[in-house]
Amino acid sequence: MKPLPPTQRPNWRYIAAEMVPQWCPASARDMHYAILACEASLLGDSMSAFMRTSVVSCDGGVIIVRCIRGTERDVETALATVTEAGGVRVALHPFATSGTIHGIRKKFRPCSLPSDEGNCKIGENTYRILRISGQKVDLVQQGIKQTTALYVNTDDLEDF
């Protein structure tokens, strides 16, 4: 099939958003469904269909969302209402918008992935230490039913 000429293709915009926490195991598919559900809930099915939002990539704690040009503001509003993806609590913080994926990748902030650094005990609970870039430390307790997290700094870890 002959591809559409550039003038007839839709004008896409790409929005990069930071996932919090970075170690969130949600896949691109989970994110896509979560974002669509939030859009439909906040702005309605009609507006949601008009925006044609989809998740292009989801890795390294950053997702790239594609939408029709002119709807970036609505997409960002919908992204602010995302609280859960794939059964995991997550927040999305948009930080860059561009007309091409190449352009948006230039705006990525370099961030290191969390590294596993053993365990620590607070009270009666034992947490797994996930060290994020800088002073940030996420403590994760894997339970049978749910994952409990405690977000601290290296200074707090010394206090505990």
Binding site: V20, T77, A80, T81, K136
Partner: protein, 213 residues
């Protein structure tokens, strides 16, 4: 404090330590916040924290009793009730922020309460967690109430505050998200910027001129 989140719950109420909250708030563009459950106000990095106390009461008497225990807090927040209760506390009790207006009925905060809030320098809080985490009928009701409050604020000039009500890292939002969600709640741009700077304004209220003889 040009931009402040009007209510957050750090550790031990929530699951984020105050230092980590400070890091995150700075990253998201905030310069201050009202933290419930911290013993005293402090500054960490470039973020100034005010200690907040929340009061949930059914009567003016119980509210006044609870107020005695919160003497160390910088900011006192009282949860709204019905119209009679709201008028009574606005007229008789000295506090800073009226919270939980979205849980009350339509007539709980009317033009009389609005005028009293303006005279007493009390701000009304718009809790964005109700827009973020709820959906369906509950969110619609909250938005309806917030639009009514923003209309009254434009007319009578009482202060508004915007809060995330975050108990976790995933509950915190950026200044940009506050602006966008504030617009969903019926606030215009100037109202959003005023609401973000309102916690600082509450600390230094404009008092009417007193004539001393």
């Amino acid at each position: 404090m040009k931009t402040a989140d009007a209510c957050i719950y750090p550790y031990p109420i929530g699951d984020v330590s105050l230092r980590r909250v400070a890091d995150e708030l700075e990253l998201r563009g905030f310069t201050g916040a009202i933290a419930v459950g911290i013993p005293a106000g402090c500054t960490i990095g470039h973020v100034r924290f005010l200690s907040g106390a929340e009061i949930t009461a059914n009567s003016v008497k119980s509210c006044r009793d609870a107020l005695r225990d919160t003497s160390k807090a910088d900011v006192v927040m009282v949860h709204a009730g019905d119209a009679v209760f709201n008028r009574a506390i606005l007229g008789n009790i000295s506090f800073h922020i009226l919270r939980g207006i979205q849980h009350t009925d339509k007539r709980a905060f009317d033009h009389v309460s609005a005028r009293m809030a303006t005279d007493r320098g009390v701000a009304v809080d718009i809790d964005l967690s109700c827009i973020i985490s709820s959906s369906g009928l509950r969110r619609q009701r909250s938005l309806e109430r917030y639009r009514e409050i923003s209309r009254l604020s434009r007319k009578y000039g009482f202060m508004l505050t915007l809060s995330s009500g975050a108990r976790s890292l995933t509950g915190l939002r950026s200044v940009r998200a506050f602006t966008l969600l504030g617009e969903v709640a019926g606030l215009d741009e100037s109202q959003v910027s005023d609401a973000l700077s309102a916690p600082a304004a509450l600390m230094s209220p404009h008092k009417s001129v007193e004539v001393l003889e």
